[in-house]
Symmetry: C2
Subunit: 326 residues, 2 copies
């Protein structure tokens, strides 16, 4: 699905972008609009200092992959879960060892010879990537939606990211059904409770416990997975697994209800949908969501473009480069 930046080679100035997740660290280095090198590694589960060391190592590895070195590095951008302010990451429970605020930006900068480091929220950064280098390029207003472990969002108003007071675009916490399923945040009936991976897995387990036959957990075991991935859901769907069908139907329905509400409030030009489910199911997924959104729009004859994220799983890393360049 990656149709944006192209691979390039050379030895002039490079900017690095790091997408720091709970399980993996994805880094790219770019020369103007082209990806010159990449690196991908597992996120250390041993504490924040080790994570900072790994982030620095991933930048060095991506520079090496580009046939370059730290001398060519002009700046580093990092997209991190949770809240970020002045390079400090907080409220990131999914990041091992980040229970307390952690000065990630400063520490990575020190480890990379004092280079300038910018840190922002991962989903905001991925939205920026799609806006400037991906599916959002033609638009000045856009809602980015990332359907992964949870459901995150990023909002662009009048060609600028809108963060509100630091917590805007929480698309996953749109209420789609009052008193509905329990969300990871503790409340009920949120979009994420139907379309987030963690909640979908919990739902599948409940259905199995209630006697609904499903091959999902058998497939997980066979594939050596300890969590329900988009790939496992896709294989179960291919075999007509009724539980997998209902999981996806519910996710699409919730995305339709929630994103129609978002559109009735925001009236953006485009909704760009990324994350694991979107990557796995491609245009079929975004089109099903568009079909659910349409009849719920207040102005049905003027729907937004509903598009898949163009940068695939590099939205975050490429967006982090854009952040660093900004």
């Amino acid at each position: 699905m990656t149709t944006g930046p192209q691979i390039a080679t050379g030895s002039d100035a490079l900017t690095a972008g790091v997408d720091l997740g709970g399980t993996k660290i994805q880094t790219v280095v770019m020369r103007s609009d082209a990806i010159a090198g990449q690196s991908r590694m597992a996120t250390p589960q041993t504490g924040a200092d080790d994570v900072a060391i790994a982030v620095s190592a991933s930048v060095r590895a991506a520079l090496t992959d580009a046939g370059s070195s730290i001398q060519a590095l002009t700046a580093v951008g990092i997209g991190a879960p949770g809240r970020t302010e002045a390079g400090v990451v907080s409220h990131a429970p999914h990041l091992p060892g980040f229970r307390e605020p952690f000065a990630l930006g400063r520490i990575v900068s020190e480890a990379l010879g004092g280079v300038r480091v910018a840190v922002d929220n991962d989903v905001a950064v991925a939205t920026l990537g799609e806006l400037r280098r991906g599916a959002g390029r033609p638009f000045r207003s856009m809602l980015g939606v990332f359907v992964g472990t949870g459901v995150g969002g990023g909002l662009v108003i009048d060609d600028r990211p809108w963060h509100g007071r630091g917590a805007a675009a929480e698309v996953g916490h749109i209420t789609v059904k009052p008193e509905g399923r329990r969300c990871g945040c503790g409340q009920r009936g949120h979009l994420e409770a139907y379309a987030g991976r963690v909640n979908m897995e919990a739902r599948a387990r409940r259905l199995a416990e209630r006697g609904h036959p499903t091959i999902l957990f058998e497939l997980m075991a066979k594939r050596g997975r300890d969590r329900l991935t988009s790939g496992t859901i896709a294989r179960a769907l291919e075999r007509g697994d009724a539980v997998a069908v209902s999981l996806i139907d519910d996710a699409v329905w919730a995305l339709g209800v929630g994103l129609a509400t978002a559109q009735n409030l925001l009236d953006v030009e485009a909704i760009v949908i990324g994350g694991g489910l979107s990557e796995r199911f491609g245009a079929a997924f975004t089109q099903r969501i568009a079909v659910e959104i349409a009849p719920r729009l207040f102005v049905p004859d003027h729907p937004p473009a509903v598009l898949g994220a163009e940068l695939g799983d590099l939205s975050g890393a490429v967006g982090a480069v854009v952040l660093a360049e900004g």
Copy 2:
């Protein structure tokens, strides 16, 4: 509740603001921040041309009320229902005779000696009034919510109104309950279906038909009203009418669910609530809504200010002056 502009006198330059509604035309003329004169008249039900004549007449009447005349008039702003573009009003089914697009701005300008006339959507204009001259003054981001015949909204992002592609801030069409009550727009479960006057009246009639005892319709008849006003609901509440209690409970609940979703998306500094119910019930109403919003926020420790509209039923007319001055 009007604590904003003060009455002033004098003979220098004046700007007029017109709030054009389906039943009344409310006009003010202002000298800098002070209201110098007012006029209020019924909206003619005999066609768009007659409405344009009445708007012009209301501006002249307000100038006379200010002890002034058309020579002092520098500009006119008009807030009108429906969509507006370059002074043309369209999609305004509640405005008698406005089924086709109507060049209201040009015609009013001609009737007032060629003065500059700006036209915008009524709710957007009322939000502008509250932002610049009312409860929104301290804030750079705000959601205006007007609970009247329907439920309208206006959105301010980074100190500027955000209209999207012309249909943003449709707060009334946030889904609060999928497959819930039928909304005026034909869809189900929208906020307006629970908190808009027309829908509340329809709900009251259904409850009465099903045998729920209520004095609402008796009160309406006694007061010579042909529609269920906030005043009638207030009197019924005072007498403990169970149907009136449930109407208000449902409206407050729906506003809580819908505005929490809006806040989770927008993270604005303030939500300013105006319209008939807000004027009638004052701070008790906005506080009940704030209490419903709070537990549904994704960041509950940082709620927005939830405030009543400060300009009362003049939000629209004062906002139209701001529009004209812009």
